[in-house]
Amino acid sequence: MTHPSDTGPAPVLALKGISKSFGAVRALRDVSLELFPGEVHALAGENGAGKSTLIKTLAGVHRPDAGQVLLDGEPVVFHGPGDARDAGIAVIYQEPTLFPDLSIAENIFMGRRPRRALRRIDHKATHDATAALMRRLGVELDPDRPARGLSIADQQIVEIAKALSFDARVLIMDEPTAALTNSEVARLFGVVRALRDQGAAVLFISHRLEEIFEICRRVTTLRDGAWIASEPLDGMTEDDLVRRMVGRDLAELYPKQDVTPGEVALSVRRLTREGVFTDVSFDVRRGEIVGLAGLVGAGRTEVARAVFGVDRWDAGEVEVDGRKLTNGAPSTAMAAGLALVPEDRRAQGLVMDMSIERNIGLTGLGTTVKAGLMDRGAERSRSLDWAVKLRVKYARIADTVNTLSGGNQQKVVLAKWLATGPKVLIVDEPTRGIDVGTKAEVHRLLSQLAADGVAVLMISSDLPEILGMADRVLVMHEGRLTAEIPRTDATEETVMAAATGRVA
């Protein structure tokens, strides 16, 4: 392990020889890590490498099987996340865990809201403090609205605001940017830099390598639960980092094939959902990958939901392969050949308490059937087939999906929908939380699907992904389609200009 210098500052937080197993799965093996004040430290590794487990162990959510956590050089044992917080460690977990019925402000100041005389809760102070946090992050979220119904990105913002509100000495962030677009990420990084300059130590996880290089000074890499290296990022390239993570060189990240588009497969006409999006019209042809870009809150997810039928639309129409879809009926959309990989894998994509096999099987209830009964053999082979194709890392196909790492859960959602053999595939943040290796794999898969004649509509807050994969980019701004940019003209500048409403 590297130590900046023998005379340098002492680590504020250190892990020594941490091991943690879940039954037969050895999630962490003898991992060590040092966090210094005033540094942003990256934690890198493939899906299932053990990053989240390391963080949960550090924060007292998991008890390590072996090893020590040292705070200011002293061994500490945290008995729960509360202990860690009291010690000045704020953690943003990979999956947002807000209370849906509480307001944003209440979620942020949960259990420690400003009080006035006679211990009455000071609503105004809570509200104002929340509003100030939102301004710092540059987002417009009403502190008084309930958390229910927030998009994943907004939930992530609230979690970030909550962590910031602690004024912690150590800030730990497990994929905070996975659902955010450039502008929110830029704001977040501004805040993180300010904290760092005030002497806070930050541990940062992201599968977007460019973010790691932008904000971090050192990186610790894990592979299959084992510590690989802790080293400065200076002088490293993205390829070096990938090699550390996966142990080999990586294929091209955006393997886009050139395809001549066929007939229109998805046609959306003047679709409107009042107060959410207005007059949205576009076509997606067979063989095309169309990117749908926009800032968080622009209405991209909402359009996808309405097209698929989980929300109703108020006006307009949707056709798949010339067949008009029924308003608000996902089953007819599926029958017409439409598939939607939703943004929120834990609530919408998966039944967390069900096995991998049955989750993938859910979209096959109409097909893996013999004489009206479930054909278990067919269900299992269909599920296994797709779990293997997407390289889901699991112990047994009958394990529940909540034992999988975040990225592997995402792969199960993709498997579940690709298994339907769709004609039109809408993917909402398809690679959220997926590691670079698998990301390349998913992109190759999407590209191949398009080449085979599937029409793909891709929503992504990862702009390079949109630019790398899309034949055409549609841009939404405040509920309206504001631009359509062909691949040749699509650049970060043109897309961002349309997304922020700077062009008509």
Binding site: K56, D353, R358, R396
Partner: protein, 336 residues
């Protein structure tokens, strides 16, 4: 949690074993328990619980509940008595009663699925309403003079065996329910709805339709039970089957059907039903008062909610996996 781990201590197996133990103990220690006549009483008296437990199991698996079942049964019995008094043929009356059950179930189902009301609240309301209508229909009359062929079928047993005639149609219905829940896409969708309704909707499962079907079938089975009750006890009164919903829910939960939905087997539920039935029979033989029996049922209800959870925790602790459930699974579900 991995399958093998749950399988090792599956609650329905525990209940099945418990049923065997209770039966063996009763055979050896309770006078008058083991003879064929008493056993046929035991089964006959348990059949109303068993009949309604079939659709109730499916409902609870999908995350809903119906507390109006006993009132629907009472209403169906009352209408049967009233129409019989009017001189209508029993062959016409019974289908009408079943149709009435369908309507009662539909009302519950529509209130839950169209208005989005919680089924607990809706069916407590209809529990009172259906019983009230039953009283309006029949007043305090007791109708007893149904055709003897029907009475004999509902109360009699096959020769000198311990099997009531009515047990045979129950077996057929049980087989249908087992197949529906455990072997069809419909059953699979119920587990998905109970464990993650939103994800089920995003997978194209027609959540509302499935629930409407379940409530309707529950109404139908409740009405059938009401008809059986009136014939079995040769008495149609407005207050027939009062409190039966408590026994049904207790038995189903005792059988390991998770109150939160998404977990359980019909085998477990049926074991729970007959465990409860056996206990009630033994208590009657021992001259335990009806009130005390209700207390016992209530205690069982509480234990049956606790039991599977404790079993699960023991399993987890024994496997030395204190973290077998993901930590974030304990925190509130993410919003959407």
């Amino acid at each position: 949690m991995p399958d093998s781990l749950t399988r090792a201590v599956r609650w329905d197996t525990v209940v099945g074993a418990l049923l065997v133990v209770v039966l063996l103990l009763s055979f050896t220690t309770v006078d008058g328990f083991g003879n064929a006549l008493n056993l046929s009483f035991l089964i006959g008296n348990t059949l109303p619980i068993a009949l309604i437990a079939l659709p109730m199991t499916l409902l609870v698996v999908s995350g809903e509940i119906d507390l109006s079942v006993a009132s629907t049964a009472g209403l169906s019995g009352a209408v049967m008595g009233a129409l019989w008094n009017q001189g209508m043929a029993i062959e016409t009356i019974i289908p009408l009663c079943l149709l009435l059950g369908v309507v009662c179930g539909l009302v519950n189902g529509l209130l839950v699925t169209r208005l989005g009301l919680p089924s607990l609240a809706v069916t407590i309301g209809t529990l009172a309403a259906y019983r009230g209508i039953a009283q309006i229909v029949l007043g305090s009359d007791a109708v007893t003079d149904f055709p003897s062929a029907y009475l004999d079928f509902a109360a009699g047993r096959i020769g000198d065996t311990f099997l009531p005639y009515a047990f045979l149609p129950f077996l057929v219905l049980l087989a249908i329910a087992v197949v529906a829940l455990h072997a069809t896409p419909f059953g699979r969708s119920l587990f998905a709805i109970g464990a993650g309704e939103e994800a089920a909707r995003f997978a194209g499962i027609r959540v509302k339709r499935q629930k409407l079907i379940l409530f309707t079938v529950t109404g139908l089975m409740s009405a059938l039970t009401g008809v059986f009750w009136a014939l079995h006890y040769a008495s149609a009164r407005y207050d027939n089957a009062t409190g039966l919903e408590l026994s049904v829910v207790a038995a189903v939960l005792l059988g390991g059907i998770d109150f939160d939905g998404g977990k359980g087997t019909l085998g477990g539920a049926v074991a729970g039903v007959f465990l409860l039935g056996a206990l009630q029979n033994v208590m009657s033989l021992k001259d335990v008062s009806a009130q005390s029996q209700i207390v016992v049922t209530g205690v069982l209800l509480v234990l049956s909610v606790l039991g599977p959870r404790v079993a699960r925790q023991i399993a987890v602790a024994r496997a030395g996996r204190k973290a077998a459930t993901a930590p974030d699974a304990k925190t509130p579900a993410p919003t959407s």
